[in-house]
């Protein structure tokens, strides 16, 4: 099924947990402008495509193209990026509307693991630590080395926090 750029923006905005007003504020445009994009009355300015895609957690290409990209992908060996060029992203959305975003370069994660750090120890938060306790970062690293990238983990804690781990 074909989707329009407006529908994609609306879907991705809701997925990222932003309201139209919040997205508008982040992009320094009016909420009406966002509403017009989502209803396919107008399109975002070309200068806004990059920050918009970044806020929605996708690339400009994915924003403009109709082809849906799978959330998790196995990349062939020849096309794989070096681990040194990858980012380990943790996104936490709480039911109260709190949002936490952590971006860590993969080499830092690898060193952290080698010296014995664990995510709950770093998280320093009862709920976040609890939600992340069961995640084996070593296994995630192994998956990434084998070429699996994208959304690798989604956990919902007892408190209702949704934790997602992406490697890109």
């Amino acid at each position: 099924m074909e989707t329009t750029i407006g529908k994609r923006i609306a879907l991705l905005r809701r997925k990222a947990g932003y309201t139209q007003d919040e997205l508008a504020e982040k992009l320094n445009v009016s909420p009406q402008a966002v509403s017009k994009w989502e209803n396919d009355i107008s399109c975002p300015d070309i200068m806004l495509l990059s920050p918009l895609a970044e806020l929605l957690g996708i690339t400009v290409d994915e924003l403009l193209n109709d082809r849906a990209k799978p959330e998790t992908a196995l990349v062939p060996e020849a096309e794989r990026k070096s681990l040194d060029d990858m980012l380990f992203k943790v996104i936490v959305n709480s039911p109260q509307g709190d949002k936490i975003r952590v971006n860590l370069p993969m080499p830092l994660v690898r060193i952290g693991l080698e010296i014995g750090l664990k995510i709950p120890q770093v998280a320093n938060s009862e709920h976040l630590g609890d939600a992340l306790k069961g995640i084996d970062v070593q296994q995630i690293l192994l998956m990434v080395e084998k070429g699996v990238i994208g959304k690798l983990v989604e956990v919902e804690s007892a408190a209702g926090d949704i934790v997602e781990v992406y490697v890109e």
Binding site: R101, V102, N103
Partner: protein, 81 residues
């Protein structure tokens, strides 16, 4: 490194710290003490390795947003490399 704290209805606070001030032997000692309280024992070599990597990352990903926390009430904290 730049730390920004925004509170609705209050003045935005931001602090810019030069990389040399954040990633040095003194801060590694302070960080080692801090993580020790979390039950992780880090040796000097481990900390120096971390600092070396952070310096490399700083050069590679200029202005990378490490942490962004946004509370539902509008309170926002951002830490950028």
């Amino acid at each position: 490194m730049r730390i920004t704290v925004k509170q609705p209805g209050r003045m935005t606070f931001w602090m810019g710290l030069p990389a040399w001030m954040v990633f040095n032997s003194l801060t590694t000692k302070i960080a080692a003490k801090a993580v020790e309280s979390k039950g992780v024992k880090l040796g000097r070599q481990d900390m120096l390795r971390l600092v070396k990597e952070l310096r490399r990352i700083k050069r590679k990903y200029l202005r990378l947003e490490l942490v962004s926390v946004e509370a539902a009430d509008g309170f926002r904290v951002r830490i950028r490399l």
